[in-house]
């Protein structure tokens, strides 16, 4: 139990000191994961909505695949991105390996299926509810997709938050494609892994506490944004 008490003390001390290295690591974590979620939203929201509304052969198969990819192990995603970005790989000439960009790509690969799958479910439910109404109004299909996305925005936010949770928490992918380079690609989770391997369990746990606090803050911020817009809608 000593460990836990000490870890909380260390966590508070780190936050109060506003340790510059910690700030740098936290900032990079947020940048990488928020960017990855933004990229996933750009891909996953329209893709999920189209999948919900448009019927085509093999659609069930695509949905099963998409749902399964929500469980894609980060290490596997990391490995695939590593092989693609490696100098010996097909995209090697861009020299992206061991940069924050590579980490954003890896996390986007992890988060997009979550966003797309949850969007598909949300929009499909809304679609079955409003389909007739939209059709009777003569709304075009592209137009109705936008309407449904707009209508489901609160549920979709939750999907994006789930994606953010996945991105900020994973270590397997970013440690492979980022390399955990000090001051360049070191984020919260890779720092926790490193400190654990140094046997600094207390510091590792303290960083874990800060990571969870951050996740709570981001979620609270989104929630309050939702509150503001919901009130404004009345």
């Amino acid at each position: 139990m000593d460990n836990f008490g000490a870890a909380f003390e260390t966590a508070f001390a780190l936050i109060l000191q506003l340790d510059s290295e910690l700030v740098e690591i936290v900032a990079l974590s947020l940048q990488v994961s928020l960017l990855a979620v933004a990229c996933s939203a750009l891909i996953g929201l329209p893709a999920g909505a189209v999948l919900a509304v448009v019927r085509f052969p093999g659609r069930q198969g695509v949905i099963v695949l998409l749902n399964a990819l929500m469980g894609l192990p980060p290490v596997v995603a990391g490995l695939v991105i590593y092989l693609l970005l490696s100098r010996a790989g097909p995209l090697g000439e861009y020299g992206l390996l061991f940069t924050p960009t590579a980490m954003v790509i890896a996390q986007t690969v992890l988060v997009t299926p979550i966003v797309a799958a949850l969007t598909r479910q949300t929009i499909e439910d809304l679609h079955s509810e409003y389909d007739e109404q939209l059709r009777s109004l003569g709304v075009r299909r592209t137009q109705s997709i936008w309407t449904l996305l707009w209508d489901g925005r609160y549920s979709l936010f939750t999907g994006l938050l789930a994606g953010f949770g996945r991105a900020i928490a994973e270590v397997g992918a970013v440690i492979i494609v980022g390399g955990n380079i000090n001051h360049v690609t070191r984020v919260m989770t890779t720092t926790i892994a490193l400190e654990t391997s140094k046997g600094n369990l207390e510091l590792a746990l303290a960083l874990g506490i800060i990571l969870i606090s951050l996740a709570i803050l981001v979620n609270a911020a989104v929630m309050s944004l939702r509150g503001v817009t919901a009130r404004a809608n009345w």
Binding site: Q31, R87, G179, I181, V184, L194
Partner: protein, 280 residues
Amino acid sequence: MASRLFRRLTFIAALAFAALGAIAAGPAQAQDGNFIIVQSTTSTEASGLFEHLLPKFENMTDIDVRVVAVGTGQAIRNARNGDGDVLFVHHTPSEFQFVAEGFGVRRFDVMYNDFIIVGPKDDPASISGMEDVTAALTRIGESEAAFASRGDDSGTNKKELGLWAKTDVNPRAASGSWYRETGAGMGATLNTAVSMGAYTMSDRATWLNFQNKGDFEILVEGDRRLFNQYGVILVNPEKYPHVKKQKGQAFIDWLVSAAGQAAIADYRIKGQQAFFPNAR
């Protein structure tokens, strides 16, 4: 009215994302070109050596050294793929093979330290104080006392397997019973060993810097077969034209120079010298 507010908020959020993107891309591009990537091992990172060494070199040359610390096996594989400018590891036979196969230019000795066998204080196989490492391993194997192996193809793991091969014990046959392969880095394996009360082999520097020792002690040390040599190699620019030949070589030259060697010798963990420079 309401939806206008929402749109505004969305717009602000989008701007924030864009700004974050710019920040994320900024530092990577600002230093573009003036850095090298060094593929190295967990022991050099976890021991704190690089934190001590790199600022000295970086201040002098303005070259940013980016260290990817993985096991020796993985570091060599990464370097073979051209994902690095310099390879700095500790398994001499693999290093010579790397050069012989044309992936590296030339290998330089940099420094050495040694491996040690650590274990719980009550020492179930009673190996404490033994000087013959293979005799100690034999005793562990025969008493079937728990032994945690890296099992990750790292330099330390290769060394450990080489030592077992000189005994009559075949630890891999006992994998899962008393011989436990963690498949992890040195620090993670030390954490596991301490929790299980299992013996393990570590490089001295990682052990000295390790904070979660429990009741563990060094039980076997000093056998010359526990010698641990580190070498450094420039990745071959003829094979991979993007390799930063001059900057990478500048780092290697500094490591083996009088100044670099003195900086290595200066590094102390709790008052003890962790690495001994021996460049020729």
